[in-house]
Every structure is written in C-alpha cells, then in structure tokens.
C-alpha cells in the first residue's frame, strides 16, 4: 500500500515487469537488489537502473530514490552491465 513515505514503482526487466512498493528514501542499490531477487538473477553482478525517460544515465546506487524526485507510479528500467572478456 502506498503511503506518504512509500511509493509504488514499476521496473521493466528482461525477465518481465516487476512492481514493488518501497520507501522514498530507499537507495537505488537496494531497489536493484530487490528487483534482481524478484527476477531470479544471481546477486553480485552489476546492474544499472534507469528512469524510463532517461535511458542514457544510470541512477547512482548510493542515492535514495527521492533524490531523483521519483514519484509514485514511476517506471524504471533494469539493465545488466556485463563484462568484456
């Protein structure tokens, strides 16, 4: 349930669309970890989270959602970074 302090966000991933309710002060890195778990990805590898409206600039993991003015109903995009081998 969305409260004054909580927001519901939608995250588009390569393994489906995930919806979750989190505190506005939740750090981006914590959101990534939650979505990675929901998707069944193994944790530990690098993932980026973007605003759907800005797919060029990944959100910084240490910053809280509120610092990006992310509001209830926002759509985010999870992206796996990978590695050059």
């Amino acid at each position: 349930m969305t409260t004054e302090r909580a927001i519901t966000i939608t995250v588009e991933t390569t393994r489906g669309t995930k919806t979750l309710t989190v505190e506005k002060t939740t750090k981006v890195g914590e959101v990534i970890a939650k979505v990675v778990a929901l998707c069944g990805f193994n944790p530990g590898d690098r993932f980026d989270l973007f605003l759907k409206a800005d797919l060029q600039n990944p959100l910084q993991p240490e910053r809280p959602l509120v610092s990006y003015h992310i509001e209830d109903g926002a759509i985010l995009v999870l992206s796996q970074v990978g590695s050059g081998v």
Binding site: E12, T13, R15, N42, L55, Q56, S79, Q80, G82, V85
Partner: protein, 162 residues
Amino acid sequence: MAVDPAITREILRAELDAVRQYGRVHRWGTIPNFASLQVLVTLYAHNDDLYIIEITADDYKEMPPLFEFVDPHTGERGTPRAYPKGNDTFFHTSGPCICAPFNRKAYKSFVQTGPHNDWTYGDWMRSKANNFDWSNVTTLADMLGMIQNRLSQPAQYQGRMG
C-alpha cells in the same frame, strides 16, 4: 547432439515474448524466421545510430546462439562498420564479435577468429568468465539487454567500430 528444431522453435517463441516486452522500452524491432531459427533485431544507440543483429539459434540452448551484426547501409554481415565500439572488449575486434559466452562466434572452436579457445559450448550457461556470472545472461532478452546497455550510455558507446 543436435537439438530438435521444433524444440528450439518453441524456446524462441517463448523468449521472443520477453524480447518484445522489454524491447518496447528501447525501440527494438524483431523479425523472427522460425523456419530457419533466425531472428533479426534492430536496436538504436543513444544518438540514434541504428544497429541490426542477426541471431542464429540452431541447436539453442544446447549451444549458445550466434550473434552477427549487419551493416544497416550495405547489408554486409560481420564487418567492423556493422559493429559498435565500446570501452572494453565486449565488442571485440577479433572477428569482430560480441565477446561473451552467450555468443557462438566468440568460440575459437567455432570460428577461427573467435577470441577464446579456452571456452567450451557446454559451459555457456554456467560460465564465470572474467569473474562475471554469465548464468544471468541465458535468454535472448538478457543478451540483447546487455548489448543495449552499452549502446545507451554515452560513457560506453563510442560509435561504429570501423
């Protein structure tokens, strides 16, 4: 052992649903050819550079698919001009190819230009190459998503390879 094409076809149909859903975010276009087990995918870099990827998926998922870039201006396959350039060796000049366990073209045992003679097909979905857990990249949507990640960010995408 070869995979029954009917099985691969069903896997492709299921995975392409996820590709289309996630691809809406990134403006991907997909053209499957289920008879030949191939898929053409169009993607855009952050500056609207167009890329075309041909995915060949015979024997998928016993073997990784083969990713090949196609020059959108000439239709030539596998030329440096068809490939993006990044800031590491994911887009590798040898071949050129996508240098990742999910790409058959990265294996020297498949093509002479493949950068890796230390990889084997059977491990592709469990690979830990370069200390990265490639078990997270085992669907076409995962693979294309990783490619798109490198096209979307100005800090990573450096134009065409050639």
